[in-house]
């Protein structure tokens, strides 16, 4: 009587949307993180100010507000985004603001003496950043980036509130079609956890790869 396989495929369709949002949101977040993170420590006050404004704004207002804004208010300013675009935009900008602080922190965590070695070797600012500081900072960023990506994955569930058919949204559909609450929610909880584990696992593998031969750098 209840067509569970049909409902499962509905949830899997939602899972595809969730994965899409997570991947595209992460890419945008990564981009913003480096732009704003480097902006925060740029030698020009204007850049620092812009980056700070972006970071404080997106960390200060809730993701929900940003989502509703992107979805319901931006159209009045002439930008009509599809729900997916609105979701990616809000998630990416929001998580990007948090990750920007990670980028900044990681860069600052590289000791002053590395900058001094660069000066003593007559490297330019950019050469120093690109060849010496960033490669070391990246390793420090990775674990937190992993956490940020998981936060983003979890945040995708709220796009169901702007009627984007992600996993949580589809679970709600299944629930109203079947009258069963436990099964759809238990299913998506397991799926979310599965995705989170994949992210954590991939990040750890990446970190190990990058840290190869570098033992003791962070100790």
């Amino acid at each position: 009587m209840t067509d569970w396989s049909g409902y499962l495929s509905l949830i899997l369709q939602g899972a595809v949307v969730t994965v899409q949002l997570t991947v595209m949101g992460s890419i945008l977040a990564l981009l913003m993180a480096f732009i704003a993170g480097l902006g925060r420590i740029a030698p020009f006050a204007v850049l620092r100010w812009l980056a700070t404004a972006y970071i404080e704004f997106f960390r200060g207002t809730s993701i929900f507000v940003q989502l509703f804004f992107a979805y319901f208010v931006l159209p009045f300013a002439g930008f009509t985004l599809t729900p997916l675009q609105a979701g990616v935009l809000a998630l990416g900008l929001n998580v990007g603001a948090y990750a920007a602080e990670v980028v900044r922190g990681a860069i600052l965590s590289v000791g002053k003496e590395q900058y001094e070695a660069c000066i003593a070797l007559n490297l330019s600012r950019w050469q120093c950043m690109r060849r010496v500081i960033l490669p070391q900072a990246l390793l420090v960023m990775l674990p937190t980036f992993g956490n940020n990506a998981i936060e983003l994955l979890k945040a995708t569930s709220v796009v169901s509130l702007i009627s984007l058919a992600d996993m949580t949204f589809q679970a709600n559909i299944v629930r109203s079609q079947t009258g069963n609450t436990l099964i759809p929610f238990a299913t998506i909880l397991a799926l979310y956890f599965f995705f989170a584990m994949i992210i954590a696992f991939a990040m750890r593998a990446l970190e190990r790869r990058m840290a190869r031969g570098l033992d003791g750098v962070r100790a």
């Binding site: 200060g60 993701i63 509130l161 929610f185 238990a186 979310y192």
Partner: protein, 219 residues
């Protein structure tokens, strides 16, 4: 559709009502998270592999899945096994459990950051395990935890709009209800954003102060 100040003043009392519930939920949720986090941190240090392992897995699971879905679960599934919670209580439990897994990490890091030399000096001074914890380790571990904990409470504050999904009339839900009644989204959603931004900025300033006051112990 343009901005209507008169409408803003008209809905202001309703919005303030929502702010109150939002703040109440944050305070209660934070209090619960402090306790839950401590419980998790202690259980994870348990000598029994079974206890520490199971706790670890549960905490990972809670941290790896969206709060929204957990709230649905607590509110709609638990009644099936006879646990019927009022919306605000369910919301506070959801927030407290979810953020408890984060505060547990703060506790762990705080304790791990006390240098090994301190444990050894305590032993060389022949202090008992109890004395070592209360006189040497915790007094050094707790102050740096305070800003980290506060950070999570601010994050929790910004996630309270999720409670609207389980019928708690917090700020976001009030805004939606206003929007539903008057078919205007711009003012209520912008107001929600402004409320969050203002409260967040104030808390960020308070946080900087906390960091300054408790952030590091001079050695």
């Amino acid at each position: 559709m343009e901005w209507d100040w008169e409408f803003v003043w008209q809905i202001m009392p309703t919005m303030i009502q929502g702010v109150k519930i939002t703040i109440l939920a944050t305070i209660l949720g934070s209090a619960l998270a402090v306790v839950v986090g401590l419980a998790i941190a202690l259980l994870r240090r348990s000598p029994s592999r079974l206890v520490s392992g199971t706790t670890g897995l549960i905490a990972e699971f809670i941290r790896g899945t969206p709060l929204l879905v957990q709230l649905y679960f607590i509110f709609y599934v638990l009644p099936d096994i006879g646990i019927l919670l009022p919306p605000l209580v369910a919301g506070v439990i959801g927030l407290g459990l979810h953020y408890g897994t984060y505060t547990a990490e703060v506790y762990r890091a705080g304790i791990d950051n006390v240098p090994r030399g301190q444990w050894e000096a305590a032993k060389a001074c022949n202090l008992s395990a109890n004395q070592t914890w209360t006189r040497i380790i915790l007094p050094q571990a707790i102050p740096p935890m305070i800003p980290a904990l506060a950070n999570y409470f601010i994050a929790m504050f910004k996630e309270t709009p999720l409670l609207s999904a389980i019928t708690v009339l917090e700020l976001m839900n009030q805004a939606k209800s206003v929007a539903n009644t008057y078919y205007r989204y711009i003012e209520p959603i912008t107001l929600v954003g402004a409320f969050f931004l203002v409260i967040s900025l104030i808390s960020v300033i308070a946080l900087r102060w906390l960091e300054h006051r408790y952030g590091r112990i001079e050695r």
